[in-house]
């Protein structure tokens, strides 16, 4: 059984690692965030599998932490994307957009 759970962990890690290609290719930042989200859930799954396979204590707490902070990070992304102005388009808007140095004086 231990072997099977470890193999499942490797499998899940492997598949979500394929999802990393989305982080590399984008094209939009929302896509990258999606890939990170999948990796987060996959990471939690792999963690639980590993933990049960090796009898690690307190693994549910680590899982809870990861799930909580993954949600938090996504919220931070969305906030940044809409109020910071230039996260999403990833291009020219970034430079012209916000007048820097408002209080430079």
């Amino acid at each position: 059984m231990t072997e099977f759970l470890l193999a499942a962990a490797v499998f899940v890690l492997g598949t979500v690692a394929l999802g990393l290609v989305r982080i590399l290719r984008g094209p939009t930042n929302a896509d990258r965030m999606l890939a990170a989200q999948l990796l987060g859930t996959g990471g939690v799954a792999a963690l639980l599998l590993l933990g049960v396979a090796t009898g690690t204590s307190a693994l549910a707490e680590v899982g809870l932490l990861l799930a909580l902070l993954a949600a938090f990070a996504s919220v931070a992304f969305v906030s940044g994307a809409t109020s910071g102005g230039h996260t999403t388009s990833g291009g020219q808007a970034a430079r012209g957009g916000e007048e820097p140095g408002r209080d430079a004086g």
Binding site: M1, F4, L5, A8, F11, V12, T15, V16, L18, G19, V21, R22, L24, R25, G26, P27, T28, A30, D31, M33, L34, A35, Q37, L38, T41, G42, V44, A45, L48, L49, V52, L59, A60, E61, G63, L64, A67, L68, A70, A71, S74, V75, F77, V78, A81, T82, T88, S89, G90, G91
Partner: protein, 105 residues
């Protein structure tokens, strides 16, 4: 009895891992951000849920089992709302221009 439980674990975990594979394939193959989001939210909720379900017979105590279920519930809650948020962060134009930008290394 324990054989039946083991079989249950194997079935459930394997099915969950397959859902992760499906999610990754969707993430890589679907044409734009919103369809990818769709694929992802289905896959990671079900994938993690099935894996947690499969792991339940393998943990020793009721408390540990409840911890696992809590991880899943939290991921479910966070995944659902974050999916909504990410969808809101995708401007309608962006999914169409998705192949114009690209930041390959």
């Amino acid at each position: 009895m324990s054989l039946a439980l083991d079989l249950f674990t194997i079935m459930s975990v394997a099915l969950g891992a397959l859902f992760f594979l499906a999610g990754t394939v969707g993430l890589l193959r679907f044409p734009d951000t919103l369809t990818r989001l769709h694929a992802l939210t289905k896959a990671d909720n079900l994938g993690l849920g099935l894996i947690v379900l499969g792991l339940l017979p393998q943990v020793g105590s009721v408390v540990a089992g409840l911890g696992l279920i809590a991880v899943w519930l939290l991921a479910l809650l966070a995944g659902a709302t974050v999916g909504q948020l990410l969808a809101g962060a995708v401007p309608p134009s962006e999914s169409r221009q998705s192949h114009r930008e690209g930041s390959r290394p």
